[in-house]
């Protein structure tokens, strides 16, 4: 039984179909990514799961209960950390966490807050007003709030936005550690593809309110089958015979002494290509094989090419 079951979720704003029958299962303990360009329906999905938006149709079951009929009880067992939101700016970090801890009914609240502040390395900010924090510090406070009630389901919406690379890395480590310790199910959205690939076991790729594919990052990257091999030859090499190689999808000149080979079927094309290159007699100075990244898939989806 999946922890989160979404069936045929629909939402329309005027003439815009934000969600067109989205269905999704997320298993207990999964770190699950929601990816897609702006307007794909990620935030609408998350906001419906939080009860902030009411869907036009479809059903949601969380913890094996119908969400609409049990939304208050279900929300006690979940939480959210979204980078673009805030808490009360005039209150201190500690006071804000006390407020939300009580709302979520957290036991031994002061001890819990201390533990989370330490985990996200912001113990020294406890007595600072939220309005006086940097965006990176603010993001970490938001994450503390997200973990306050040891949620069984945590929704993270762009939660590492605005963090410098060092803090972002520490935050990812902390997220992974907490998730593994508590077996928290996490639904994660980000525009940082490396982050999604690093953290998420499975990813749902959304486009125009529909799920394009649900799979691991490795499998999703195969939506773009080709690889690109860029070869730089020694100056003065005769590239004409190489350019006449058969069986390669596309060969392009890349500067005076370099060629780009686009392989649509790398499994069967790479080996013959490399043999042909070595047999051509032209000394190779550099060779680089580019595999498609999650970002390549993202860009193609955003441009409607996939």
């Amino acid at each position: 039984m999946a922890l989160l079951e979404i069936r045929d979720l629909r939402k329309r704003y005027g003439t815009v179909e934000a969600l067109q029958g989205l269905s999704l299962d997320v298993e207990r303990g999964e770190f699950f990514g929601l990816l897609g360009p702006n307007g794909a329906g990620k935030s609408t999905t998350i906001n419906i799961l939080l009860g902030l938006i009411i869907a036009d149709g479809g059903s949601i079951r969380i913890f094996d209960h119908d969400f609409t009929a049990n939304h208050v009880a279900i929300r006690r067992r979940m939480n959210v950390a979204a980078a673009f939101t805030s808490m009360n700016g005039v209150l201190t970090v500690w006071e804000n966490l006390m407020v939300y801890g009580r709302i979520y009914g957290v036991k031994q609240l002061p001890r819990k807050i201390d533990e989370l502040l330490e985990r996200f390395e912001i113990t020294d900010l406890a007595k600072r007003r939220l309005q006086h924090l940097s965006s990176g510090q603010h993001t970490r406070v938001t994450l503390c709030k997200g973990f306050l009630n040891d949620p069984e389901l945590l929704l993270l919406d762009e939660c590492t936005l605005g963090l410098d690379p060092d803090i972002a890395e520490k935050t990812r480590r902390a997220l992974q550690a907490v998730q593994q310790e508590r077996k928290t199910t996490i639904l994660f959205t980000s525009h940082n593809m490396n982050e999604v690939e690093e953290l998420c076991g499975r990813i749902a790729f959304l486009s125009q309110g529909e799920i394009l594919r649900v799979d691991t990052a490795a499998h999703i990257k195969r939506l773009i089958p080709h690889q690109v091999v860029e070869v730089t030859f020694q100056a003065g090499s005769d590239l004409t015979p190489i350019r006449q190689l058969n069986g390669i999808s596309r060969i392009e000149r890349n500067g005076d002494h370099a060629l780009r080979f686009v392989l649509d079927d790398p499994t069967h094309q790479l080996d013959p290509l490399l043999r042909h290159l070595t047999q051509s007699g032209n000394p190779i100075v550099d060779i680089h094989v580019s595999r498609p990244t999650l970002e390549d898939v993202f860009i193609k989806v955003a441009r409607g090419e996939l």
Binding site: S43, G51, M87, E95, Y100, I103
Partner: protein
């Protein structure tokens, strides 16, 4: 389509305590939240105190001080209750906290109980301050009209203030911050029709038609009657209390409906971006 279910009427004392704690922190960490407990009520008391002193010195109208100052002190209760609901709701909009708050398991009932509790404390503080000030400056003691009268008048005015505050909060959820001015201005629209400083029968017919539907009018009519006779006009007061209780239930229902509409239209998440 149903826009609420039984869960929306549930409440947890710990969540209410969390919200009361938040509003308390907002009060002591924000100078204007402390200042507004006394600022406008004191201005009003000074204005009507000096006006009544002038009238008393130039006419034979007896009891003018009691009429005006009693009205000013009691009106401050309505005004305090009404603006507190609006401003405590607005605080969450201003701090972009609406998203986190409504994504949490908090219910509207918990929210309003917490606002009611903190609002009650602020009203009591404001009322006590004005009572002492009126006694110190003008030797007017509102407690002379009796504990029962005070209890009846204040409960109707507080409840009616919350009704108006909840209706304004509902409109803010539905139409956003562009109508936030209502949180402070609606009291000024209701005041002339509530006959705070003049009797109902001195008003033109069309004003009387509006005034008689407002629970606050019956309180101020009752206040003048109590000052003049030393007795309470129970029937209109009980009617106005009943009317206020019905309006209170309707205002909660309207708030739930406005919140439902805001969620249907996706407005709660857009407020964060505003």
């Amino acid at each position: 389509m149903r826009f609420v279910n039984s869960q929306d009427y549930g409440f947890s004392t710990m969540a209410i305590w969390g919200l009361v704690y938040k509003f308390t922190c907002l009060c002591y960490r924000s100078l204007d939240r402390i200042f507004d407990i006394v600022y406008w009520p004191v201005i009003s008391l000074l204005l009507w105190g000096f006006t009544s002193m002038f009238i008393a010195s130039t006419s034979s109208f007896s009891g003018v001080m009691e009429f005006f100052l009693g009205g000013a002190v009691l009106w401050s209760l309505f005004w305090r209750a009404q603006t507190d609901v609006g401003t405590f709701i607005l605080e969450d909009f201003w701090s972009r906290n609406v998203y986190n708050l409504f994504a949490s398991p908090v219910t509207s009932i918990e929210l309003f109980v917490a606002i009611g509790l903190i609002g009650l404390i602020r009203c009591i503080l404001s009322f006590l301050f004005l009572t002492f000030l009126a006694w110190g400056l003008y030797a007017f003691n509102i407690m002379d009209i009796g504990g029962t009268a005070i209890a009846v008048f204040t409960s109707v005015l507080l409840l009616f203030g919350w009704v108006i505050g909840i209706l304004i909060a509902a409109l803010i959820f539905r139409y956003g911050l562009r109508i936030q001015i209502l949180a402070w201005s609606v009291g000024f629209i209701i005041q002339p029709f509530s006959c705070v400083f003049y009797p109902l029968d001195s008003m033109p017919g069309w004003v009387q038609g509006i005034a008689i539907t407002l629970p606050s009018t019956h309180v101020f009519e009752g206040l003048r009657y109590a000052i003049a006779t030393g007795e309470l006009a129970w029937q209109p007061l009980l009617l106005s209390f009943g009317l206020t209780a019905v309006l209170f239930i309707l205002s909660i229902a309207y708030f739930q409906y406005a919140l439902y509409q805001a969620k249907k239209l996706g407005l709660l998440t857009r407020f964060e971006m505003a």
